[in-house]
């Protein structure tokens, strides 16, 4: 059956949704939220999205998407360009290499694995930022807040993204 132009646009737009949503969360991450103390522990929303899409829809979120989201995150947050890129690409590389592990695993297992991967990715970014900084490394204990909030928020974001996947991406 031949597809009309509109159908083709609709399907392609749905395919771009994971990337688009992740980019929106990158923007959301730099939007002021006016919550006292929250700026110090701003979570890595992009990392949550990248993990989710790489586990559940690797066909729609490959290395290219991870690379561009990393560049956008670094340009927008003022971090050295390449630090988020490396953290995100390593995250994806790990997930893609172990994709069989993620089949039919319970949510708790997926969340626990995310906790380990998030901690690793945040350490990678911290190392990259520190190595190019003229003034050395930030204190490692200051990473704990960002890491904990990122891990804690995973279930909420995972639920949101799962809803999107079920409603928009099931019949593309």
């Amino acid at each position: 059956m031949q597809r009309s132009v509109w159908q083709w646009i609709d399907i392609e737009a749905r395919k771009l949704l994971p990337f688009g949503l992740t980019f929106i969360f990158v923007l959301y991450g730099v939007t002021p939220n006016h919550v006292p103390g929250f700026a110090q522990v701003t979570p890595m929303y992009a990392l949550i999205c990248i993990y989710f899409w790489s586990v559940y829809r690797p066909d729609l979120f490959g290395y290219g998407s991870g690379f561009f989201i990393g560049v956008a995150e670094d340009l927008l947050t003022g971090a050295p360009v390449g630090s988020s890129v490396l953290a995100f690409l390593l995250t994806q590389w790990l997930i893609f290499n172990q994709h069989k592990f993620f089949y039919a695993k319970s949510f708790v297992v997926i969340w626990l694995v995310f906790a380990v991967i998030a901690a690793g990715a945040i350490l990678v970014k911290w190392f990259c930022v520190g190595i190019v900084s003229e003034f050395g490394f930030a204190r490692a204990e200051d990473l704990a807040g960002t890491c904990l909030v990122t891990i804690t928020l995973y279930p909420l974001f995972s639920w949101l993204l799962a809803k999107v996947q079920l409603t928009v991406l099931t019949n593309e």
Binding site: H34, A39, L76, G78, S133, F135, T146
Partner: protein, 242 residues
Amino acid sequence: MERARTAMSDAVVPLLRVMSEPASAISKAVTNFRELASIREENGRLREENIRLQKWQVVAERLETANRALNELLVLSPEPAISYVTARVVGDTGGAFAQSMLITAGREQGVQKGQAVIAGEGLVGRVSQVGRRSSRVLLISDINSRIPVLVGEVGLRAMLAGDNSNRPRLFYLDTKSIVSPGDSVVTSGAAGAFLPGIPVGQVVRVVENAVQLEPYIARNRITHVRIVDFGLGEILSGLNSK
């Protein structure tokens, strides 16, 4: 790379402007509610402060007259006039990696790299990147921020250095100098491009190797900032072109 950053900032600032509206509106509503709850108490405090400030106004006017007369005697050339550019904060990047803000004023509004940025209570940081209609402000808490300051009433010279935490530290203080919690810290104006006397914060903790500072600014309440232009545009552009 800086051009890529400024191009990105210019491109997303209109989006961020829209996205930051809801949080800003909620923040304003919460502040209004808090202020309403403590309006009587606040009124009493403001009356007392007003009486105190009126006394200071008399002192300031007397000093200004004396200062003008002395300047005329010495034939001093007048200091350049200070002007401000007000901008809205649409981006606030925190966490352990970088501490900066994106604001809605850039080259077109006369913003230049290196200018001091202040909010109501004190120094926020300095302009680190300038786009066409947006700029990035490197906060005093960022690990790459270094600001020459004066500490306490005697004005001890020191360098304020961020460490990506919410309490930047003072360095290069004379080891024999006495600094204690409660001492106020202001910019020294050393190195030229910063206005002297901008309030920065208060010393909160003095331990053997570190003097920590609590900034005057409440970061979560900042919605607008002012970029200070005190007539050093030519010097700044000269520094920036190097």
